[in-house]
Symmetry: C2
Subunit: 250 residues, 2 copies
């Protein structure tokens, strides 16, 4: 880290103490479901992107703002899914190691960043091709990891990932998860690939197609031109036109 570029730590007077957020950002490349993970400088420590809430800032605004600052991602669909408040997640040594590896001298043993934090967790769904994540100043990399191949994560971040994935599976039909992982028009096969990636299992083509059509959420369009007209698959889109881009206000 360039010492000339060193930034000030977030100040206690600017933020709500004891309150953080963490985000599980799912991306889909047509085959695999992946998650964005930060690696902290000189520590070998991996974590979900997260941040803090300003004293005069709505919680959901803080999450959108912080995610943009920490990952470069803007205008993404976010959904709050759980608030983690076990006492066992309190682990001041991890934060100390991360900050000291970045050259911060934590003389003050009572620094607010070493306190116990309750974390409100959000998940996001994005399309690989629309985004270029970049690490923040505390991290030397931000990378996509397949959900089966995550590195060991700090604190209770693995538990947060598991809860996010469980929620995503429950919400597959209801929240039209596919809408945010696919282009506007897609084939039934592409939709099935999203479901298979999220559920972590293969589905029968005929059963899947029948179920999707029975939900009455898809609109059928022209066939996709493939050079072999008789094999061209139909394109579909979701009936509700507008992608959800922002968390609902609360």
């Amino acid at each position: 880290m360039d010492p000339n570029k060193k930034k000030q730590l977030p100040l206690a007077e600017d933020f709500i103490p004891h309150l953080a957020y963490d985000s599980v950002i799912f991306g889909f490349n047509g085959k695999q479901l992946k998650i964005l993970i930060l690696e902290y400088h000189n520590t070998g420590l991996f974590a979900l992107p997260g941040g803090f809430v300003k004293r005069d800032e709505p919680l959901n605004t803080a999450v959108s703002r912080g995610l943009k600052e920490r990952t470069g991602l803007d205008e993404i669909y976010l959904e709050q899914f759980y608030t983690f408040g076990d006492f066992s997640r309190y682990d001041p040594e991890v934060m100390r190691v991360i900050l000291e590896a970045n050259g911060y001298d934590l003389k003050n043993e009572n620094h607010w960043l070493l306190d116990r934090f309750i974390s409100v967790a959000y998940y996001a769904l994005i399309n690989y091709n629309e985004v270029a994540p970049r690490p923040d100043e505390l991290s030397d990399s931000i990378n996509w990891y397949a959900i089966e191949e995550l590195p060991a994560l700090i604190q209770d971040h693995q538990k947060i990932v598991e809860k996010a994935l469980a929620t995503l599976r429950e919400n597959l039909d209801k929240k039209l998860v596919g809408m945010n992982l696919l282009p506007e028009k897609f084939t039934m096969k592409e939709l099935q690939q999203v479901y298979e990636a999220v559920l972590g299992e293969k589905l029968r083509r005929t059963t899947f197609q029948r179920k999707m059509l029975s939900l009455d959420i898809l609109e059928r369009h022209e066939k996709r031109f493939s050079g072999r007209a008789h094999k061209a698959p139909f394109l579909y889109s979701f009936k509700s036109k507008k992608k959800q881009r922002h968390p609902s206000s609360a």
Copy 2:
């Protein structure tokens, strides 16, 4: 309020600042879905039961403990559903009115109870007949109100109720909501009454019965003796035996 019984306000050093919880406690009497609402002494102000989290206490433990202290309810099923963090919910005057009406002199303008609070919201499902709610020392009553007949609530508590109800409706099948609102064995008609109360609409008996049986979540038992054997309805129970009594750890 008896001044000799006056208790001390919660102390800043004992609790996590800026963090509260609120609970929407649904009860069912066989016909109507109701919610428990507190009325504060001498204010005409109505609110959801809520509380604060001790500095060394897990969030979910705090909610169970606080709910017992504030309402007399013990061992009830609780589910976290959303964390409310809008800046607009910050309204120190309401808390000042409530505390001053209870005889507390808030000389200190910076009292921690007048700060901005982020609130983690839980809902609970209980059976009318199993509980005897009692008001805490700040409140002169705690009463059941039908969801269509709620009084005006402080801050964003009406919004919290609406979100709780929306979540309850989404979870009707998935979380076996009926399990916590009914005795262990019940008739199909009683189950339908729970659904109708939660959904706020009448359902067709034949359609409802077909759907419930297709979900494969019910076990059929003997008929309920009614004196007219040929009219006696079958009794059912939910297949998963154990009632959920405690919030999942997190």
